[in-house]
């Protein structure tokens, strides 16, 4: 024994070691009995008074075992060798607490994720488990009893994004009697759903089911609607967020505006509407994106306004009956305090021009799915007529291509979830409104939810032609008779095993969903992370899908990953339920694992300042030292590792504890006896 003797405990501590089999998860690769026996004998002089193995330590019987030992043997420290602390740290801490031991005197070490699941040699795995247990024992000796912090929870909630997920969440919380701020970047709430005509699988009119909710959100006494606004800064922590919001100048005095629409009518500047009309239609420089917009007040697009460009015009002002146009209006900065935040920022569409072999942007009659939504919409640029780009010809044959930009490593390697059903919906609408022959080109049909496959059956009944094959190219280069003047879809019909060339008049690309282009910046702003593809990461993919690793920040809808309207609504409601649960608690306990700065050691280098993923670090310019807000800190340890002066220490992660754990891990290597297996 060399190193470990330097950390010799005072001999007063009594440690219990508990090794879990986890069924065969651990026991299949680790000789758990051996580990327990070894700990009981080899670590006796380190204070281990009892070491046991058990089939499922997390079961109530397993927990009772620990509780009984604490009471009967007077244990002062507990080490559990089982799964990752992510899963059961809380379980075992609570068990200790029940038996009267401070829960932070319990240490959970992972011999499943870090040992049994990643090793294939039982001997080595068993040795490693012993090392891991030894490390845990050394570490737990340095633990201190900690008391959790409690913080009050502000009852207001911020929801970012006014699409269907955000609206749903807002209404749930507002109806429960709590105040909500909705921040929406665009002039109106409604999101993508407001652009659609019909919704699958029941073909409800999107506007008919969405606008009542929009109106409710717009008039609800508990909802403050901040459209044409963006969040600029988020400070604080769960229960106490300080949010800075920029309310962009509408150039319209909403106190005076009645939403009569005369300004839009009189505005002489016509611009292609890339957002709401997906580039297929026009809007004015002063506009509300669509008739049912909430709020009803228009927005003046300064970049395209003749007055702001040339200094003359002012047609909107001249004709406004209530003198509501205010060219001098400036952006407003608002500060709001909220206890919880829901991010429902939605998605962007894949840019179909990138798939050059499908010709979008080059071949006039290739359309994207969102263009198709506008074409089929009664309030769209063609009043719901499905016509070619010339604005008048009704197609006789239409090809709908699935998986454009999805399930393709050249673009996005994930399934966009909604495209199969969306394509079926288009097939139905084209059939119903034009009588055209409709082809669907798919790789795999994915219609897994309630009434979805029934809708597929219905579209089959309508004689839609299904071709199983990913389309190779869309071309206007005629090769065979009958192809002149057509778009030719070249594809392998994989079920027939033959290449086919199918001439059509119109091609619809079922384009996939992508994370918002700025999702990473937004994630950073709110202190949450994104997956490799850029979707916001949930706390647990199955068991905690709307929470994030940052307390008080929730996600809902497509910001978390591609999903359809029913799933988005469900997530909006789920996030609201989580927030309401938090609000009802009135105050909440924070895990006391926190970093703190030893001021005498801090050199003021500020290296740690920008590293904190939770924005918990502040710098005192006057004293030139850094301070960590204990309520904001999530105990991740990034700053502790980064500090060149060693001035930051973490409760539960002090240098002393970490070095002791390393000593413990190395016990087998420095031991004076042969490695026992």
């Amino acid at each position: 024994m060399t190193k470990t003797t330097t950390n010799q405990p005072d001999g007063q501590e009594k440690i219990g070691v508990y090794v879990c089999h986890c069924g065969s998860n651990i026991a299949g690769m680790v000789d758990v009995q051996q580990v327990a026996q070894w700990a009981g004998s080899r670590l006796k002089d380190r204070g281990v008074v009892v070491a046991r193995d058990y089939k499922f330590m997390c079961s109530s019987l397993g927990q009772e075992l620990i509780e009984k030992d604490i009471k009967e043997l007077g244990l002062t420290r507990v080490v559990v060798a089982a799964c990752s602390p992510h899963l059961h740290e809380k379980t075992f801490r609570t068990a200790c607490e029940r038996a009267g031991l401070n829960p932070f005197l319990c240490e959970l070490v992972s011999i499943r994720e870090q040992v049994s699941w990643v090793h294939t040699d039982k001997v080595v795995a068993t040795q490693k488990s012993q090392a891991v247990v030894s490390g845990g024992v050394e570490r737990v000796l340095h633990h201190e009893p900690l008391e959790p912090l409690t913080v009050p929870i502000h009852p207001d909630t911020l929801i970012v994004g006014g699409g269907i997920a955000g609206i749903q969440a807002a209404l749930e919380i507002a109806d429960a009697g709590y105040h909500v701020f909705i921040v929406e970047r665009e002039p109106s709430i409604g999101g993508h759903m407001a652009q659609f005509d019909k919704t699958f699988p029941t073909l409800d009119c999107a506007a008919c089911i969405l606008t009542p909710k929009m109106v409710q959100a717009g008039t609800h006494p508990n909802i403050t609607l901040l459209t044409w606004s963006e969040v600029e800064k988020v400070e604080g922590y769960v229960g106490n967020f300080d949010v800075t919001i920029r309310k962009k100048a509408r150039k319209v005095n909403v106190e005076k505006c009645t939403g009569c629409g005369i300004c839009q009518e009189k505005c002489p500047k016509k611009i292609i509407d890339d957002v709401y009309e997906a580039g297929l239609g026009y809007r004015k420089a002063i506009y509300t994106p669509f008739p049912q917009a909430v709020p009803k007040y228009p927005v003046l697009d300064v970049k395209n306004c003749i007055f702001f460009e040339k200094g003359t015009c002012k047609a909107c002002q001249k004709f406004c009956p209530t003198d509501a146009i205010d060219f001098e209006q400036q952006d407003e900065i608002l500060n709001v305090k909220v206890g919880n935040i829901i991010l429902a920022t939605g998605y962007d569409l894949f840019d179909a021009r990138k798939v050059t072999n499908y010709g979008y942007g080059r071949l006039a009659n290739v359309f994207t799915s969102i263009e198709m939504e506008r074409l089929t919409n009664a309030a769209g640029p063609t009043n719901g007529q499905i016509v070619l780009r010339d604005g008048k010809t009704v197609p006789k044959a239409v090809g709908i291509i699935h998986c454009v930009g999805s399930r393709d490593r050249n673009f996005n390697n994930y399934c966009s979830v909604i495209c199969c059903m969306q394509s079926l919906k288009f097939a139905h609408l084209v059939h119903e409104r034009t009588g055209a022959t409709v082809y669907n080109f798919y790789i795999d049909m994915r219609t897994p939810f309630k009434d979805y496959d029934e809708f597929y059956q219905r579209v089959l009944e309508e004689s839609t032609l299904f071709v199983r094959g990913k389309v190779a190219e869309v071309t206007d280069a005629a090769r065979l008779p009958g192809e002149e003047g057509k778009l030719i879809i070249q594809v392998e019909d994989t079920l027939a095993g033959k290449q086919r060339r199918i001439p059509v008049d119109m091609v619809i690309l079922s384009t996939g969903l992508e994370p918002r282009r700025d999702s990473r910046e937004v994630g950073k702003l709110f202190g949450i992370s994104c997956s490799a593809n850029g979707w916001f990461t949930e706390k647990h993919p199955k068991l905690d899908p709307v929470a994030t690793m940052t307390e008080g920040i929730y996600i809902a809808g497509c910001a978390q990953g591609p999903k359809d309207i029913p799933a988005s609504v469900a997530q909006g409601a789920a996030a609201a339920a989580r927030v309401l649960g938090k609000i009802q608690q009135k105050e909440m306990a924070l895990e006391p694992v926190r970093a703190s700065v030893i001021e005498e050691k801090c050199s003021g280098c500020r290296i740690c300042n920008n590293l904190c993923p939770f924005n918990a670090i502040f710098f005192h310019e006057d004293r030139m030292v850094t301070e960590i807000n204990p309520a904001l800190c999530q105990g991740c340890g990034t700053c502790v590792a980064a500090c060149p002066a060693g001035a930051i220490t973490g409760t539960g992660f002090s240098n002393e504890q970490v070095l002791a754990q390393i000593d413990g891990l190395l016990l087998l290597n420095v031991g004076d006896e042969p490695i026992p297996v």
Binding site: R407, N410, R468, G469, K470, A472, E473, T494, K498, Q499
Partner: protein, 201 residues
């Protein structure tokens, strides 16, 4: 077209025996990382192929056959020989399978196993390679005459004006060019063949 011929008809083997090492072998013998096992059978390759109409199996089907261990049927397929190496399928493949290189591998394996329906293409490749190994450069006149005499004798009169045209316009030379250090090249190729033999012999 010349009459298709089969060299050494394959020995009979019991039907329905799946050779599950086939996919792995093809993958291992392909330059780079073939990603063949990643195929999702979407048909992008078969849809893209400019010469698919003349193939007995689309590339996608061929990959399914490799997966199913249908060694003989797969190597007998004319598909790799009809592949024109246009790489349309390669850049469009959603799984980034190195399709064109897999085709090269299948040709090599078919030659090795003497499994092909029509010897025109393998002969052409072999003749081309023979010339290159001999001279270090391709020798179009020698190649064309030898190849056409054997495989398209009836075509020769039709081809003559073109050949004469190329000759008269100095676009084809009757004599071959040889690189200076042909010895070095031959030594390299000899060693390369030994290595190849060690690997797949």
């Amino acid at each position: 077209m010349a009459t298709p011929q089969t060299l050494d008809p394959p020995k009979a083997v019991p039907k329905m025996i799946e050779d599950l090492t086939l996919l792995e072998e093809v993958s291992a013998r392909t330059a780079g990382v073939s990603r063949l096992e990643m195929c999702i059978q979407c048909g992008t390759c078969g849809g893209s192929c400019p010469s698919a109409a003349d193939m007995d199996h689309t590339p996608r089907m061929l990959f399914a056959m490799l997966r199913a261990g249908m060694r003989q049927a797969a190597l007998m397929s004319n598909t790799p020989w009809i592949c024109v190496s246009c790489y349309h399928c390669v850049v469009r493949c959603p799984q980034n399978v190195h399709i064109a290189d897999v085709m090269y591998t299948l040709k090599g394996m078919a030659i090795e196993a003497k499994l092909f329906q029509d010897s025109t293409a393998p002969d052409f490749s072999q003749t081309f390679v023979d010339m290159v190994e001999e001279y270090g450069r391709s020798y179009e006149f020698g190649l064309a005459t030898r190849h056409y005499l054997k495989h398209f004798p009836l075509r020769l009169p039709g081809m003559a004006p073109m050949g004469m045209g190329l000759l008269s316009k100095q676009r084809m030379s009757i004599t071959p060019t040889r690189i200076k250090d042909i010895k070095q090249l031959k030594a390299i190729l000899k060693r390369a063949k030994e290595i190849e033999g060690d690997n797949h012999g």
